[in-house]
Subunit: 328 residues, 2 copies
């Protein structure tokens, strides 16, 4: 064996060593998470389901993780981003809808009397959702959403909404994908609204975004054909609709589910049901300095039932104040 | 430079050469396809959309291909496989349903008077579909489907249904995936029926199977929760429902769509709409010796409208007789 062969041999060994070294040894995959119960639960869960010698090993095809969006991946306070978008759309559309001047809920949006999600009834919220979506194609709707997102800020943070995304959650999404997971968003928000930024902001492609949606109409116009949103809501993807939509769209039970409000309870129950080895997580908005502290106190992001169930169901409650070293 | 370094240098060059050699040079990716217009259209389409120097280059994220199942990927003659499954289910369930003995369409299934899809009206077919699905979870339904598939043959071919899969289509699915495509099934058949074998038979995971489906009920039972099929059909995924389901589930327009009947026309139009560079394909069942010759002559697999539109829309019509060197 000459010196060159020896050097090559060492090189091969070194490359092999790197290739088979668990990624955690190379670097902390979740640097924005403080050491503690939540971070340990995540690391040990992923270590287990990727370890072929573990009784809890899961084939890559079964590594499905589902995430709520508003309040889980990005800020939902002082209001849902999509609500702000819809209210601005109503104001933009108003000149072409003189009938709105004396029709609620539109008239009080135009006059500025009401401007927050919680000031509208569910029925009114649906009227607003329909009025701002109807007759649009998904491409047109996403174009409007992208334009609006590029010019609107979170009023409290003073930052574009796409910058009000939680760094620890981006790390978690990447870490899961590096470990063979398919990461999905399962949102009460509009599917196309979230699809308009999910690839760019979360590296989650449109086919892995499941959300609220309209019935569609098929339209053919010479050699062009497309689909437009009808004024009829197909699904409001919240609460018990989340597991249903997961079953219809994915056909597999997630092994990890992450939310932040009572609307996510059914999704977490579905993922962590029975004896299967799984991980459910809930973020608490309890950091008034770096983000907001509003948990189980406001309609947006209410989590009282979820916190009450966490112990019994074995869910990890993630304190944004204590568990996250950095938030943005 | 000593001899060992030289050998290593050559080795590196050789490995690099293999790595960067277009796969077509190494081996024909579609060996079961005869040279001809259809095969050329596929090869040139894939070469173009994967060539970063081509004006028709498509990023991997946009490489979506959608396939019909019955008659496109596997045999649908002498009858739809799922119909045979449902009729056997009715006969299996009959002892617990004495009321079926004098209720159509069940009584004539039990008596053997009717045993083919075309002998039932659409309404009756839906009654059969509901009766054989209701109250089951997806897992239970898929278990029944798998058991049945493992013990049932195509009566004309004398082979299990999962062996009546077209080899040229398996090659095409693999070839597209090797070139960065996500391959989807968009079927009029039940989503769970097709999911019960799609991973094993087509290497297509459940989340890439879109099909007909039921409304679901969320059920919680102590610490276990699951979804059961309600006696209400959510979608029959055929005709214009196909593009709608594609938009809801994928959120991207396919650049390649492949079908074999008039129920696939809207999906092909959606994929090949307007001026976008895309490929639509339709298989013709015109080989009475190696498979069947029934195109545009029977209710199952009727394709008269599709053939009439193919020229105008630029779709490739694939003759199973002439374009396929091997079928199974």
């Amino acid at each position: 064996m000459n010196i060159s062969m020896k050097i090559n041999g060492y090189l091969v060994l070194f490359v092999l060593a790197i290739a088979f070294m668990p990624s955690a040894v190379l670097a902390d995959p979740l640097p924005s998470w403080n050491d503690g119960q939540a971070k340990n639960a995540i690391l040990s869960f992923v270590a287990n389901i990727t370890n072929t010698n573990s009784p809890n090993y899961v084939e890559p095809s079964g590594r499905i993780a589902t995430f709520d969006n508003d309040g889980t991946l990005w800020c939902e306070y002082p209001d849902y981003v999509q609500s702000l978008f819809m209210l601005d759309r109503i104001r933009d559309m108003a000149p072409a809808h003189s009938e709105w001047n004396d029709t609620e809920p539109f008239s009080s949006i135009i006059s500025g009397k009401r401007s927050a999600t919680e000031s509208f009834s569910t029925k009114e919220a649906m009227q607003i959702y329909i009025a701002t979506s109807v007759n649009l194609t998904a491409d047109e709707y996403m174009g409007l959403a992208r334009d609006w997102l590029s010019s609107s800020n979170n009023s409290e943070m003073g930052l574009p909404h796409a910058k009000c995304v939680y760094k620890p959650m981006l790390e978690l999404l990447s870490y899961l994908r590096e470990n063979g997971f398919k990461t999905y968003i399962v949102t009460g928000g509009d599917e196309d609204f979230v699809r308009s930024f999910s690839s760019e902001v979360y590296a989650i492609p449109p086919e892995q975004v499941i959300g609220s949606a309209f019935k569609l109409q098929y339209v053919e116009n010479n050699s062009s054909c497309y689909l437009v949103k009808l004024p009829e809501i197909l699904v409001v993807d919240d609460g018990q609709e989340k597991p249903k939509e997961i079953e219809q769209n994915i056909g597999l039970r997630p092994i990890l589910a992450y939310g932040n409000s009572d609307g996510d309870i059914s999704m977490l129950k579905f993922a962590t049901s029975g004896d299967r080895y799984s991980l459910g997580l809930l973020s608490r908005h309890d950091d008034p300095v770096r983000e907001f502290a509003y948990n189980n106190t406001t309609a947006v992001g209410k989590l009282d039932k979820g916190l009450a169930l966490a112990g019994q169901w074995g869910w990890q409650v993630v304190s944004m104040k204590d568990d996250w070293r950095e938030i943005f």
